[in-house]
Structure formats: structure tokens, C-alpha cells
Symmetry: C2
């Protein structure tokens, strides 16, 4: 691609970026916000700190506690009028020593790159060894029946479907969530899933699993997709394959933790609240860069950019670092409970929890009137390449707040790469592109600014 | 991000992906096309071959010749009804031995990561040594005047502006294109620019430069942005800095090369042509993965997917691997000249030459009536996350065809990362994400299919 081609393209598009519109002052403010993020924003350096100086931030652990302190400081540095902690109880689950997963066949042994799923029960201290039976979905599992499953380790080798462009994760994660209960029901002694990712690589991807109260809980692992392919090939040609699994996680009583909140008081309607957030906790295998350090540092820069530009929002803008999204959602509940108890008036809430990739959609989760009203802002957002505002719900952390009636939204980035990193050791600071992170911060700020200036109607 | 959040989001959006529309059959066909690309597409493996088995493909060189053979084979394998070569003369410029750029100050020497710009003159065989004078733009250069520039090496340290979201390249590349003429006019003996990239890294980025016929040509280099920062700091504190530059490129007479063309004959209007293309040549420092192996293999899969799915387009669909986009555009001219000479009827033409990133825009470069008509297809394209169809021009290779009057378009991917790789050794196969490449192939195929089925009007 040569210079004049690019220039021609850009000029061609630029004509459409600033359509005739009644929001002429906002157009300029949004330009300033974008410029701030891309030249002076703090999101990238703040993310580096969360990832490199702190690292994994699983709820209840030392990393999460440090991240509470760090983001309080960042919010103060961003110039928030008020910074405070909001208590919530969170689970205390720890992976313990590195898990072991070793395939045994004939005289051979092969170690798998595998991890325990989050919140899973452990194995006995000495581990367990059992024959492996492979299935590709729950239909195959049920067809085997208890006769062929009892006493065995079920390997669910369901590959995330490549042809599903947006909902491959929702489709595949069923096996991570329900695998232990479905296999346990038939008498399996453990379950191992293929990691939920499009990537063919050597990272095991963790994530919460759950148990049915009527089924005895069994340990639940995930192996990397490369290992899943290898094991699948082995099982097809080798009749007698045993798997040794060992994991000794610790789960104690719930412990006290916090949401971290910083806000700019509204100049005209201080009691009307616009919330923007991400979640501060992360899984323990990676640095929680995309999931969801990004959403936190972007939300902090919503505050930082508005203060640095000397803007005075009419409504209160509140940045929330939610605790415990990954394995409990207790921070999100605490936030909604507190809002209800204090009879706060929440007008709009949006979150960023789908990775630090460039935003392209913002969902509109209000009344039809509100959605139509906010959709009028789309031409303003196009300068950041936010191109679509479909009706749609919020993310997990804003979910509980819905009962208080605010309009909600979710920032959806272009995320074909997201599941390469999701819940794995590959979710590191180096996987985040600075400009893409900053584009997201700009889009969130724009939405918060417009909601605080114009309200979202009824 | 947890499973139910993602699921909720996706379901929320999914409702909008397939709006009520009169193109119900096309909706299904486009779904098949997407599924083909993401499960059976050949684009990624073909790109691997172009990058890893062939490598750099500068016009007139051995790599380009191999790529002509390889893409002929790929088009045949894709099932094209006809595959043929279209001759064009191309420059023969070779970089020669690795360039040298060494800073000398006091008793110190520091080698810079630098390269000669494309089409630049060389230095004398023994190299040149001269004092360095740094400027940040042409105003500073002109303010210095001939007195302070004559006999020196001008270092133009213009950083690509981070706040420009879409046109930072067009803004910065002026210095690569016009730097030699502007500095030469004032008597400089050579020029070195800061590489045109947002990234702060150690790769020099090449690209074509040019000379004014009234100004004696001087050698033109680019250094990496990291080296530019270092040299800038040095020059601010050290009065006497000399730079040794050596490069001995070879330029011979133009040589014969080819565009590679494969087509599916239209079932109903075989004389009406829909063109899709990318360029086969690349700069010599990298593998030409994003620029523009991607556009070639995507275009080949336009043919491949339509044939594999048994679709019979009404109009002729032609995939063109243009030669010599980077340093001449002679392939593009040959294509337009041939079309004119044969009085071909070209109805629509689109190209992909902005990287293998996920497509989000498609520009519409037709009459107002045509643009309005094609914009009606946008809801169909949303399943691939193509979200916007602004008026806009084509890329460089389709440009010359415009005089024959077809509607033209350009596929614009989300490309904040593009200039990290552009014209540098970092533009390697490994920098391409398989699914993003495939999404682009699907979008191109969809546009070609719809144009061939429905036409684009007048």
C-alpha cells in the first residue's frame, strides 16, 4: 500500500466522520478526548503496572489486594473528586502447587499442558489414575452411559467452532461449565476438557466451572488444544490409555475484598450517576491484561481525560473497578446492593470486559426511546471507529445494576483474537496494543461524557 | 469475562445480524461463504507459502517471478475457469549489500538500524561521511536554508502523529516522498528520515521515495524509531555528530513481469466483469504478509469459495494479483490498458491492500445511485462485522481502472496495528491472524457475489 492510496481512502472516509449534526460542541470535545488518549493517556502505563508489577489478581489473593491499593492511587492521580472502597465478600480459592496431568500408555508417559478449572475440587493428595474415555459433546457422553463412564476420566474434546464468528465461546463453554456435573452424574472420577480457544497452541485456559448440588463434585481440568489434538490421535489408535491427574487447590471461607470507585461529581445533576467499569480480579494463570486490566485502566482514564481537559460533566461520572467477576460476581452485586440501599439514581452504565482490542460496537440496553436517542450519537463516535449501536445487554458486572433501571451498554471490540488469550498465561501485557487500548478508553469516555451532558431520556 | 456475559451480549447482537430483507437467499449464501472461509479456506496456507516458501517479492526480482508461478497454481487449485498472465514492464531496482549507517561523535561510533528507501540512489562505493543536521519538518528545513544544509546529511525526525486515527500515515509519508528533493534543493548530500510507523521499535521501514527532475538526486535512508529517538537525544547535547552512510543499490532497465489473473465466467452476463485484487509484489525487507500477500490470497479464495460451494455467479468474477504496486503501479496500468483495449465492460472492482486485519468498512465509489443501492447490502455484511459503507475511493491498483467507469470500492480493515509492520522486516506471516485474514476473504467474496448477482446499477 502506497501513500497516495491511503490518503485517498482516508480523505474519502473523513468526509463522513463529521456529519452535520446538532452536537457540534461535543464533536470538538470528543476530538479532544481522542487526542488526549492517544497522546497523553495513562491507560497503557497503568496496565503495565497492573500486569508487570502486580500480575495475577485472583479474588481473595495477594495480587487482588495490591491491585485495590494501586487503582486507588491511579484514580487519585487521575484527579477523581472522591476515591473510596466498597466492601464485598469474595471466595478464597487457590490453585495450590502446579497441577499434574500425565498420560500413560504401554511403557510411555506424556505430560500434558493442563490446568485445573477455576473453583474445581482437587484430586486426592496422591492424585488419581484412571482410564480415559473421549467424547466430543454431551450427546456422545450420554450415549456411552454409566456403564462405560463409571470410574473413568472423561475427556471432552469439543473444539470451539471456527465458523461461529461471534458466539463460538458461548457455544463451547457449556462443556467447561457443565462438564463436571454431566460426567459426574455417570460416575466419572474426573473430567478434562479441551481448552476453550480458537487457537491451536500449548496454553491451557482456565475459567470457572460449577457443580450440581445433586451430583458428587469431581475434579475438572482443561488441557491445551495442541495436547487435546495429540491425545485424541492417541486414543483413536491405542486401546488402553490411562491418565494421572493431581491437583490440590485450597478453598477457605469467603474473605473481605473491595470494589474500587472513583468519581467526578456532576456539576448540575450530582445525584444522577453514570457508571463505567471493568473488573479488577483476573484468573491466576496470566496477568489479566485483556481480561480485564484493560477495562479498569480505560475506566480510570475516563476520569483522567475529563479532569485533564478541564471538562465539567453535568452528571456524576463514576469509574468502578469491580472485584470478583471471574468466580462469583460478588463485587457487581455489592455495587448494585449499595446503590439500592442508598437510593442512588443511576442513569447510564457501561463496561469494558471483552479485551483491549479496538472497539467497534456499543450495545444499547435501554428503553426503545432511550436506544433511539443514544443511537443519534453514533456519528460522533465514528471518529473512533465505533460503527454500530445495536440493541443489546450489558456485561456481567453491570448486570445486577439493571434492577435499578438505568440504561446499560457494553463496549464490544473487534475480538477474533480475544480467545487466544482468555484465561490463559498468554493474557499478558505484551498481548495488548497500546493504540487499540486507547481507542477503547476514548470510546468509553465519549459515551460517559455524552450521557452526563445530555442524559439518556426515559 | 464469563460465559453468561458473553452469551448475553452475543444473543443481543445476533438479533440484528439478520434483519428482515429481500435478499433472503443471499443471506444464506453469505453464511455459507463465511463458514467456508473459517473452516476450509485456503487463504492462510497460501499466505504461508508466499511468505515462507518464497519470501520478499520486489518487482523484477526472483521472488516476484516465483510468486507469479505460485499464484497461477493456487488459482488453478481454487478452480478458476481460466488462469492467465498479463504482461507488464516493471522497474528493476535492487537494494544490493546491506546498507551501513554509522554515527560518529568524539571517539564513539554507533551503528543505526537503517535502510535505504525504495528507488533511492546509492552513495559512492566508499560511502559518504558528513555532519548531521536534524529538522522536524519542512518548515524547519527551509528556515535553516542552504547555508546550514549544504554538504550535510539532513535527518528529518518527524514522528507519525499518534492523535491521527486514520490519516497519520498520509501526514507523515510526505517526508519519505519529498524529503530527498527538499533537502537536495538546499545542497544536502543525503537525507535520513525517521521510519513512518507509530511503533517505537528497532525496524527500519522502507517505501518508495522520489526525486524532482530539477534537483540532483541524493541518497535517502530511513532509520528505526528507536534509533531516531537516540540520535535526536544525542544531537541535542553533542555539537559535532557525523554520519557515515553507505548503500549501493542497482537499477537496470525495466524488465518483463506479469499480473496473474484467474476468473469464473459469468453464467448470464459473461461480458460484465467484477474485479477483486491485491498486489503480488512486496518490499524486499519483509515477507509482504500484510502488504499485500493477504490481498492476493483473499482474492484467490474469492474464486476458491465460490467454486467449492458450487455457486454460479451471473457476472464474471476475476481475481487479479497486481504486479508492481509498491514502486511503479505498472501492473495496475497494464490491467486498465488491457481492459480498455479489449473494450471490456467492468461493473465493479474492489481491492484489499490495507493489511490482513478484520474488515470493518467497505468504501463505495460509484454514482450516488450506485452507492445507495450497494449500501442496502450492508445488513448482509454485518454477519462478518463489516459495519459501515461510506462513500470513498478505491486503492492504488483499482485506481487506473476508474477511467472505464466501474463502481469501485476498497476494503478497510481495523488497522491501528498496520504501520507496525508496513514495509519492514516485521511484516511476516506470523504477524497475520488466521481468522482476521479469513474474515476479509469472506467480506470480499460477499461483495463480489452480490455485485455479480445483482449488478450495481448505473
Amino acid at each position: 500500500m502506497r501513500f497516495f492510496a491511503k490518503t485517498a481512502v482516508v480523505l474519502g472516509i473523513a468526509g463522513l466522520l463529521f456529519p452535520a449534526h446538532s452536537f457540534s460542541n461535543d464533536t470538538l470535545i470528543l476530538k479532544d478526548i481522542g487526542e488526549y488518549m492517544l497522546t497523553r493517556g495513562r491507560a497503557y502505563e497503568n496496565l503495565r503496572y497492573l500486569c508487570k508489577d502486580i500480575g495475577p489478581r485472583l479474588s481473595g489473593g495477594a495480587g487482588a489486594a495490591k491491585a485495590v491499593e494501586a487503582t486507588m492511587r491511579m484514580l487519585k492521580e487521575a484527579g477523581a473528586d472522591t476515591v473510596y472502597l466498597q466492601p464485598c465478600m469474595v471466595p478464597s480459592w487457590e490453585r495450590g502447587p502446579k497441577e499434574e496431568a500425565v498420560v500413560q500408555y504401554g511403557n510411555n508417559r506424556q505430560r500434558l499442558r493442563a490446568c485445573l478449572l477455576g473453583m474445581s475440587k482437587g484430586t486426592p493428595d496422591q492424585g488419581i489414575t484412571a482410564p480415559v474415555v473421549m467424547v466430543h459433546d454431551f450427546d456422545e457422553l450420554r450415549a456411552l452411559g454409566a456403564d462405560k463412564v463409571k470410574g473413568k476420566i472423561v475427556f471432552i474434546n469439543y473444539a470451539m467452532r471456527p465458523e461461529l464468528i461471534t458466539n463460538g465461546y458461548g457455544d463451547a463453554v457449556r462443556f467447561r461449565s457443565n462438564g463436571p456435573a454431566e460426567a459426574g452424574k455417570l460416575g466419572a472420577v474426573a473430567v478434562m476438557i479441551r481448552s476453550v480457544t480458537h487457537a491451536l497452541d500449548t496454553f491451557p485456559h482456565t475459567g470457572s466451572t460449577r457443580y450440581d448440588k445433586d451430583v458428587a463434585p469431581i475434579p475438572a481440568f482443561a488441557c491445551s488444544t495442541v495436547d487435546a489434538e495429540w491425545l485424541s490421535a492417541l486414543l483413536k489408535k491405542t486401546p488402553d490409555v490411562q491418565l494421572f491427574l493431581k491437583a490440590t487447590p485450597k478453598q477457605g471461607p469467603d474473605v473481605l475484598s473491595y470494589n474500587v470507585i472513583g468519581e467526578i461529581k456532576g456539576s448540575r445533576y450530582p445525584d444522577e450517576i453514570v457508571t463505567v467499569g471493568g473488573h479488577l480480579d483476573s484468573w491466576d494463570l496470566g496477568e489479566g491484561a485483556h481480561d480485564d486490566g484493560a477495562g479498569c485502566v480505560q475506566s480510570i482514564d475516563v476520569i483522567g481525560s475529563i479532569k485533564a481537559l478541564g471538562l465539567k460533566p453535568q452528571r456524576t461520572i463514576r469509574a468502578v473497578m469491580f472485584m470478583n467477576e471471574e468466580n462469583g460476581l460478588n463485587g457487581a452485586r455489592a455495587y448494585a446492593d449499595s446503590a439500592e440501599a442508598r437510593r442512588e439514581k443511576h442513569v447510564y452504565a457501561i463496561e469494558s470486559d471483552l479485551g483491549a482490542f479496538s472497539p467497534v460496537y456499543i450495545t444499547l440496553g435501554g428503553t426503545p426511546t432511550q436506544n433511539a436517542r443514544v443511537r443519534e450519537w453514533l456519528p460522533l463516535l465514528r471518529q473512533y471507529w465505533v460503527l454500530h449501536m445495536p440493541d443489546g445487554g450489558p456485561g456481567a458486572d453491570i448486570g445486577p445494576l439493571r434492577r435499578l433501571g438505568p440504561m446499560v451498554g457494553n463496549m464490544i471490540p473487534y475480538s477474533q483474537r480475544y480467545f487466544d488469550y482468555h484465561h490463559a498465561a498468554s493474557d499478558r501485557f505484551e498481548a495488548v496494543h497500546k493504540r487499540e487500548l486507547e481507542m477503547g478508553a476514548a470510546a468509553l469516555t465519549a459515551m460517559c461524557w455524552l450521557a452526563s451532558e445530555w442524559g439518556v431520556g426515559e
